[in-house]
């Protein structure tokens, strides 16, 4: 009986990528998406996060058959709705937040039409770039790990999509990816070190619409007390020599010299902001004993913080005419800069009074009559400005003034109320009031805003200055002395200046009272403090050596290598690394191929047999089957006829036999014995001749 043969292919499908993506692969994509959204949680609007969760969930339920994917109309409806919400909330602002929201929105919408392998790849590309974008916002070590794991999930998912039905795909996928990473890690590290860190090809500001925690360029009493509730990091400092004592750690940031009603503002010299980005690393090599390195968190502002009597060492900060330091551009990512302390005290002489005395004597036309009267009395009493300052400080010290994070509301004539009635306030209140009185008494004065203090990091390696260290104080111009610091807070609450806000607020219990999650709040828990400091140290080194490895750091490292490598040499080295890497990979591959080839026991035996035939005077001919060769061998050496035929049969059986009959060690052993016998037989005959 002959029946028509039916097609028996296991699965006849198209090779093209329009086949459906399998659920196993999809779950990896969804997991990676979820993970890559985590670093975005504080930037994305809630509605967008929720829609993404719903859309991805919908896709997953559709995969498992519990829901149907929306049809064309419903899909368009959903898309239009979400885009409309997006446009309504964005309102034409273009910031990195809106851009990355749009990105995430695109991914979310794509879920509903991820059907084919091609769609999978589109999502793969978008998600890889989402990971890239995440690195723009978060560079801490834990966020980096999350990002890299997200990308790894994608790469495992790709393997699953390319071979959905192999058993243990997940385990082997991870192992394969791990092997690839281990093998390529040396090259990656070399590239990271040597790839020339070029200057930006074109300037792209990282415009952020998000308000950052930090001091601002105006001060209404009460502003800084809200900052005092935040334990976010402002900057970290490493000193080359001795760390200065706590009370001398005045980090000057900016000067507020214009009083407008109740608000102190920057009066003049407001620089035009150029778009673009600040050079994010500065200062290289060993720190000299009078130098210090500041690693500042992004502020989106141009000001840098420095101790008094400092001079800029790295060239990404520039001094201005008030003795402050400025970046060229807003610091939209963490920035490192280096300063040096100069002891000659010359920096205090900036801003000669005759030119702009008016500027530091400015007061509103009216308001706070009692303070003005008090100032005039002082001016009349003392002819020496230094004595007025001293009197004011003594007043703060001796009278019942309180330093508090919970000052009463002082809506009208706040300075009068603070000085003569309530006598309760925070540093901003006292600094403002003191400046007011000095100016009213005819002494040029200004409010300085910055930070004071800083806690030690792990093992006292560096200082951590946090937002609650924000502070405001006064500088007065004294003839012959120049600008002199005068801090009313030091007179009222010396603990604040000696050991920080925590101790100053110990009685009141208001330190970080609204911030339950901050480890700094629980200063008495040693384990927690230790863990938090260790984590901070890890991040600090990560930021300094990995994240901060940019142009200058690279140049510094390279200049220590013999030969003094420049940008051009680095380019050559990079090209060399890539070339050698590729070549090495190719060679290793080829070598493994050869080595294995000669190792295959079966072909080795066959080769040995061929050699035997050669010696017996029967060279192998082109296109000869094993049986034919055996036949010719048996004619040349009749003694070996039986073994040769059997051997040839075994070769044939090896290739054409059924799977389970061949390829075991027993077969190999038998072949080896046969070959040995054959050899004996062939040799014996030779001797006989």
């Amino acid at each position: 009986m002959i029946n028509r043969l039916r097609k028996r292919g296991r699965s006849v499908e198209s090779l093209e990528t329009n086949e459906l993506v399998s659920g196993r692969a999809l779950i990896w994509l969804i997991a990676s998406f979820a993970l890559l959204l985590v670093p975005q949680w504080d930037r994305l609007p809630v509605w967008l996060m929720a829609s993404c969760a719903v859309l991805a969930g919908w896709r997953w339920l559709a995969q498992s058959g519990r829901l149907r994917l929306p049809g064309k109309w419903l899909r368009s409806g959903i898309m239009l709705t979400l885009v409309a919400i997006y446009i309504a909330t964005v309102q034409g602002r273009f910031t990195v937040e809106t851009a990355s929201s749009f990105f995430v929105l695109a991914v979310g919408l794509k879920w509903l039409e991820t059907r084919s392998v091609r769609d999978f790849y589109v999502l793969f590309f978008i998600l890889v770039y989402l990971a890239t974008v995440n690195f723009l916002f978060h560079q801490e070590i834990h966020w980096s790990v999350i990002n890299l794991v997200g990308v790894a999930l994608l790469l495992v998912g790709l393997q699953v999509v390319n071979a959905p039905d192999i058993p243990g795909a997940m385990k082997s996928g991870w192992r394969r990816l791990g092997m690839m990473l281990v093998k390529t890690l040396p090259i990656v590290v070399l590239l990271f070190v040597f790839f020339p860190r070029m200057a930006p090809l074109w300037s792209v500001p990282l415009v952020s619409g998000e308000a950052r925690t930090g001091i601002s360029d105006s001060m209404t009493p009460g502003d800084i007390s809200s900052l005092a509730q935040s334990s976010e990091r402002a900057f970290r400092v490493t000193f080359g020599g001795e760390t200065p004592p706590y009370r001398d750690r005045y980090w000057r940031g900016l000067i507020l010299d214009r009083l407008d009603g109740e608000t102190w503002q920057q009066g003049f010299g407001q620089q035009f902001r150029r778009p673009g980005r600040v050079s994010v690393d500065g200062g290289v090599g060993e720190l000299a004993s009078n130098q210090y390195d500041v690693l500042m968190e992004p502020t989106d502002q141009t000001w840098a913080f420095a101790l008094e009597d400092s001079r800029a060492v790295s060239n990404n900060v520039k001094p201005d005419d008030q003795g402050l330091f400025r970046f060229d551009r807003p610091a939209d990512s963490s920035v490192r800069y280096r300063m040096a302390i100069v002891d000659d005290g010359s920096s205090g002489q900036f801003g000669a009074v005759p030119d702009n005395a008016q500027r530091y004597l400015q007061l509103p036309r009216s308001g706070n009559p009692r303070a003005r009267e008090f100032a005039e009395d002082l001016a009349a009493e003392y002819d020496n400005p230094g004595a007025i300052v001293q009197h004011l400080l003594d007043r703060f010290r001796q009278q019942e003034y309180f330093y508090t994070l919970r000052p009463p509301a002082m809506p009208e004539d706040g300075i009068d109320a603070l000085l003569f009635d309530e006598k309760r306030g925070f540093c901003a209140h006292y600094a403002g009031a003191a400046t007011f009185v000095l100016r009213a008494a005819g002494i040029p004065a200004r409010v300085v805003v910055g930070y004071q203090g800083g806690d030690s990091g792990a093992d006292d390696e560096y200082l951590i200055v946090r937002q609650y260290d924000a502070h405001a104080w006064v500088e007065a111009w004294l003839p012959g002395q120049g600008w002199v610091r005068m801090d009313p807070t030091a007179a009222i609450a010396p603990q604040r200046i000696e050991s920080g806000l925590r101790d100053a607020m110990a009685e009141e219990g208001s330190f970080l009272e609204n911030d339950w999650t901050s480890p700094q709040r629980y200063g008495d828990m040693a384990m927690l403090q230790w863990a938090s400091l260790q984590l901070d140290r890890m991040n600090y080194h990560w930021q300094r050596w990995v994240v901060g490895y940019q142009g200058q750091s690279q140049m510094d490292l390279m200049s220590r290598l013999p030969g003094g490598l420049g940008m051009r040499e680095l380019g050559y080295i990079t090209a060399g690394i890539v070339g050698v890497g590729l070549l090495l990979a190719g060679l290793v591959n080829a070598w493994q191929y050869r080595r294995f080839e000669s190792r295959d026991p079966f072909s080795r035996i066959v080769t040995r047999w061929h050699r035997l035939c050669d010696r017996a005077g029967v060279p192998v001919r082109h296109g000869e089957t094993p049986s034919q060769l055996a036949f010719r061998l048996s004619r040349a050496k009749p003694a070996a006829a039986g073994t040769a035929t059997a051997f040839a049969r075994m070769i044939n059986k090896h290739y054409y036999g059924r799977e389970f009959e061949t390829g075991n060690s027993a077969e190999l052993g038998r072949m080896k014995r046969l070959l040995a016998t054959m050899k004996r037989q062939a040799d014996r005959k030779q001797q006989g001749e």
Partner: protein
């Protein structure tokens, strides 16, 4: 212009990959290029690098370098996935015109797993074949047939995109052995008229039949008495002499019975008749110009007749000789020997 390049390429590939039923894939015959997705990914890496440069972001540099390195590693992985694979055509199938003809291929991957392998011949694709290291798998590729005759696939594409689908490594197997496609059976108009007068036929045949025997290779089922042992001693080939004229039954299927008709139609009629006879289990012989098959019964006989009909008037396609196992070709002995390798267990 495009066609010229294509032809040249085809020619070059054919020279590089000669026809053989057995091929071991290695550096010499594997081609590898990025897929569309691979090209897009390359562009994406470039964009990432520019992002890293413009934002002076070390971590983006790091991610870019990591992914680039993974891409290079993936390229080698894809290549290695195919390299070392041995593919042998162990059986070329038979069937009727218009059916799919199964080609049985044995894949052995001695060194490492070969995953997500696809075989393709023309429009037929066999996807997602996994051959674990040191094991062998038999793959069935169904090749569609259109006409009767020899079915020799010009190229069987062997391809893999594993692990990431960013690269595509491929090669071809260009088999020597052909499948056989029987003529499509067509019901004959008048069956009885084809029956010949047995007496006369047998006489005339036995006269000249004694002179020249039909020599053919030994097949399973042939009686040992018919083997030409002398010839075997001389050449090592087992051949059978089909002596004509030892037929018994007068049931002949004759090509000449449908004189005046188109050749293909005649063969179709004959095929139908063979099937019918076979189904009735009746004894019949086949008479084709230049070839006579003695009357007999049984499936093997029917098969033989159908084969004769299939290749009637056709030359066996042949391009370059096959390279049987255990052949040494000069220098590259190691390569010609199929490294089978199921490995010492």
């Amino acid at each position: 212009m495009f066609k010229v390049i294509r032809n040249r390429w085809q020619h070059w590939v054919n020279k590089r990959i000669p026809r053989s039923d057995q091929r071991s894939f290695g550096q010499r015959n594997i081609f590898i290029l990025p897929t569309g997705a691979g090209v897009v990914f390359g562009v994406l890496l470039l964009i990432m690098l520019i992002t890293g440069i413009n934002y002076q972001n070390s971590l983006i540099y790091l991610l870019t370098f990591l992914l680039s390195a993974v891409v290079v590693a993936a390229m080698h992985q894809t290549h290695r996935n195919l390299s070392g694979l041995e593919l042998t055509l162990i059986q070329a199938g038979e069937g009727f015109a218009g059916d799919v003809i199964p080609f049985r291929l044995r894949a052995v991957s001695p060194r490492h797993d070969t995953l997500a392998l696809s075989l393709a011949c023309d429009d037929v694709v066999l996807n997602q074949q996994h051959i674990p290291a040191g094991q062998q798998a038999d793959l069935n590729l169904s090749v569609p047939s259109q006409h009767r005759g020899y079915l020799q696939p010009d190229r069987i594409l062997v391809e893999t995109r594993f692990p990431f689908g960013l690269f595509r490594a491929w090669s071809w197997l260009r088999p020597v052995t052909s499948g056989i496609v029987y003529p499509n059976p067509v019901p004959a108009p008048d069956v009885t008229s084809t029956v010949q007068d047995g007496e006369e036929q047998s006489k005339s045949r036995s006269i000249d039949g004694n002179d020249h025997a039909d020599i053919r290779p030994w097949r399973e089922g042939d009686m040992s008495q018919r083997v030409q042992w002398k010839r075997y001693a001389r050449t090592g080939e087992m051949v059978i002499a089909d002596w004509e004229g030892e037929q018994g039954s007068p049931h002949w299927l004759d090509y000449e019975a449908f004189s005046g008709l188109d050749r293909e139609l005649r063969l179709g009629y004959l095929a139908h008749q063979v099937l019918e006879r076979s189904r009735n289990n009746s004894r019949f012989g086949l008479n084709l110009p230049g070839q006579v098959i003695e009357p007999d019964t049984g499936a093997a006989h029917a098969n033989r007749c159908l084969k004769a009909l299939a290749v009637f008037g056709l030359e066996q396609p042949r391009e370059g000789g096959p390279l049987p196992h255990g052949t040494r070709t000069g220098e590259g002995a190691g390569h010609a020997i199929p490294a089978s390798g199921r490995g010492a267990a």
